[in-house]
Amino acid sequence: MSSKPLQRLDRVVIRFAGDSGDGMQLTGDRFTSETAALGNDLSTLPNFPAEIRAPAGTLPGVSSFQLHFADHAVLTPGDRPDVLVAMNPAALKANLPDLPRGSTIIVNTDEFSKRNLAKVGYDASPVADGSLESWHVHEIALTSITVEALAEFGLTRKEKERAKNMLALGLLSWMYSRPLEGTEAFLRAKFAKAPEILEANLTALRAGYNYGETTEDFAVRFEVAPATMPPGTYRTITGNAAMALGLVTAAQRAGLPMVLGSYPITPASDILHTLSGMKRYDVTTLQAEDEIGAVGMALGASFGGALGVTSTSGPGLALKAETIGLGVSTELPLVILDIQRGGPSTGLPTKTEQSDLLQAIHGRNGESPVAVVAPQSPSDCFDIALEAVRIATTYRTPVIVLSDGYLANGSEPWRVPSLKDLPELDVDFATGPNDTDDDGAPVFHPFLRDPQTLARPWAVPGTAGLEHRIGGIEKADVTGHISYDPDNHDRMTRLRQGKIDGIADTIPDLQVEDPSGEARVLVLGWGSTYGPIAAATRLVRAAGTPVAQAHLRHLNPFPRNLGEVLRAYDHVVVPEMNLGQLALLLRGTYLVDVQSHTAVRGLPFPAADLAEVLHTAVAQTLEGVPS
């Protein structure tokens, strides 16, 4: 046990920042696991450049990982860090603006050389010139302490230096009373084939821990008590991992083999990686020649009776548009995962944005409706995957899932669901004739619809007697033959739209949360903004101001009661990480005005900023100021 006094905190936000090659993402991941094991609630925000290795020591090369953990429910990765670990001057310079005065900075002084300072435009070391007086600065020679701790090892200096992230992790683990066992086990597995590297990392990790214990620089250590969470088995999970697990679970429960066609793209690739390791669950992953090939393979597999899935990001969704239209025309199940990132064009590959909403809903030629859903947290990616599969297989339609970079890479504790608590997924394939011809003989009509869902039969090749042809040319209602008949096209267009609209019958009404029951202002979001919006409403309500919150997971069709909810409030604020795409849809659909609050900074909304927006909106509503 430590000899130093222990101080209890209710929440902490730590940001690890360093060069792209410094291992900050790994350090953050490990600290996250240690924290989860202690039972804190948490939320993370990895933030890294698109370049694999930008020039060392430069501002564009800075990679960071932020973690918010607490003894209560956490909704966001935190607006501003309480502690910054800066592995070099670039990391300090890039992150200092986010750091409130009075917070703690741990700097690796070894890297604060004249040359490294000059690289980022510091004339003098900010650590030495007094410019950091308003912060608690711990100056630690992390690199040389690491090298010294590894003096006995037969490694090169460079190899020894690489373990400095473990030293930093050890130190932070000591500071916040995190156990090291999980990280030790992780390192043993990771470096099983390189015993010397393993020992070096373990030694650096423990040296960091012991450094905290022995140095006089740290007078106290902290602890954060476990959060109160519903009973169950928990793990931490990222959005991409949850999405992969949700798809596998859905396919297994539906009794379908799954075929993922995918082309690598940031930030969606991890879904391909994860699913490629799940062959045992009847998952086939095909890395295609391009985005179009990927969705084509998925659609081909769906034609054959598998669950066809494709994963991508915005640029890939643009390329897949025509094939998704073919899915609309052929009325086959297809799940398209769009892990959104900053756009347009290549945009900001590693940064988050919600700007594909209109592309998802409208981005195809012709009247081409598809279902669109969006998860609201990393763990909700699991549930949304099940919902997407339900809609796709029940209604025989493409379904677009709008996740984003923030959800994809961010992690949080997830209560692992019991399979028996998950919704059933039943898929029925056509097995025989479904109609009679003029002479009363049984025939199969591939576009004879289920009267309830308007879905057409899913008749897969290999089923005798149901041979038929489908395609992108307009089909005659019922028979599915090619048809250029004007009335038929009008009817089929309305039937396809009606089928998608009808999905609303099976989705829950939008729930509004308003604990006081007195709110006149509603904040309505969709997708990954749930956490920041919920955190903001918490701040606003804590200040005694009533505000209602609702969050959309279904973007097309909308829940049936959405118009009613919008009209029930004097004022509606819609925060989005785009320039007002949901706002446009709401105004156009319901003729209700909303206040569109937008930011496209590649980062989630800071909760405090949103709280400010809501405070102002509530105040103006009460004063009767027109919005």
Binding site: Y234, G293, M297, A301, F303, G304, P461, G471
Partner: protein, 369 residues
């Protein structure tokens, strides 16, 4: 014919014919069922190509020989892209998808990989396969997916009414090239061989017997079979292949490819290998018999087949027809399925609910309450 290269040895020895490698795994019609006929494969849809279109002959040939494969009709799927020829699936009473421009090989790859029990065919044209869909085509061939691809080459865009295509000759005067096209055409056979397709052949719409023989060999091949079919467009490019159809002209122009045989025309021409290794066409009586090229469809190295494909400079003076290459290589779909199967059998069979629950828990959990 060269199907020996990938037929199982037992097929040659046993008395009952085993399923041909290309269709292994595809259910066959019962032996005591009435024999399938062309009519079984003809859909109720009226064929709507222009009068005189070469597509009619290919359709008739395909409908005519499909019964010979002995496969259950419901296990055959034709997938096409966009273009005149891509209407093909509507006229066959099998499963079919008339997809979008250029993408049929990708869609067929997804289907063939997930369904071993299907015989999957791709119908495409020179614009569909080589222009808008070039990428999918070369990657399907590179992977060696078990598909039979019929590439109808009429050297023109027909459905869009007469623009030049990626196989049109340099200088083609078309609606979009009023003073002649300047880009060099693809030779589809060279392209396929460059992508290391395991079965590459060329045939002609009007030669029913040759067409049928080549298509049958293509269907019997396990892996991607690329069959280029010279097909006449009577409206926008009539007579493009007339030199190869005219009885007198074709004798000297067509070089017959037959495995294990010298490559020769109907006249006295033979293909010889010169001292520098290149191929040339010569008069048989004027050359050293040892220099005459004996065609080897099973050669692992596609170089000789490629050199054969380059004998034609576009003038059709000496143009090889038949099977250029037929080699046995593991197919993409077989290997992908084997990996999935392998993962399942290593783990002791299909995943149970407990396995799925374990997957969800992952390695690192904690318990609350």
């Amino acid at each position: 014919m060269t199907t020996e290269t990938d037929a199982p040895r037992e097929a040659a020895q046993g008395s009952t014919p085993l399923p041909l490698p290309g269709t292994r795994g595809v259910p066959r019609v019962d032996q005591d069922a009435p024999a399938q006929t062309k009519k079984d494969f003809t859909s109720d849809q009226e064929v709507r190509w222009c009068p005189g279109c070469g597509d009619y002959a290919v359709l008739a040939a395909v409908q005519g020989f499909l019964p010979d494969l002995g496969l259950r009709r419901e296990n055959i799927v034709f997938i096409s892209g966009i273009g005149c020829s891509s209407r093909f699936p509507y006229y066959l009473d099998t499963y079919g998808m008339h997809s979008i421009h250029g993408r049929a090989p990708a869609i067929a790859t997804g289907l063939a990989t997930s369904r071993e029990d299907l015989s999957v065919w791709v119908i495409t044209g020179d614009g569909d396969a080589l222009s808008i869909g070039g990428n999918h085509l070369i990657h399907a061939m590179r992977r060696n997916v078990n598909l039979t691809i019929l590439l109808f080459n009429n050297k023109i865009y027909g459905l869009t009414k007469g623009q030049y295509s990626p196989t049109s000759d340099v200088g083609s005067v078309t609606k979009s090239t009023p003073v002649g096209s300047v880009d060099r055409p693809f030779n589809p056979v060279s392209l396929a061989l460059g992508a290391e397709a395991t079965f590459v052949a060329r045939t002609m719409d009007s030669d029913r017997a040759h067409l049928t023989t080549v298509l049958k060999a293509a269907a019997e091949h396990r892996g991607t079979s690329l069959v280029e079919i010279y097909q006449n467009c009577p409206i926008f490019n009539d007579g493009a292949f007339q030199l190869l159809k005219d009885r007198d002209e074709k004798r000297a122009r067509v070089l017959h490819l037959s495995d294990g045989e010298p490559v020769r025309s109907g006249a006295e021409h033979v293909v010889v290998r010169r001292e520098d290794g290149t191929l040339a066409v010569a008069i048989e009586s004027e050359v050293d018999p040892a220099s005459i090229l004996v065609h080897d469809t099973g050669a692992d190295d596609p170089s000789a087949a490629f050199a054969l494909s380059r004998l034609d400079d576009g003038s059709m003076a000496h143009l090889p027809m038949g099977i250029f290459r037929a080699v046995s290589r593991p197919t993409y779909d077989d290997q992908v399925r084997a990996q999935v199967e392998g993962a399942r059998s290593t783990a002791g069979g299909p995943a149970s609910e407990d396995d799925l629950a374990a997957l969800l828990r992952g390695g690192d959990t904690w318990t609350v309450g």
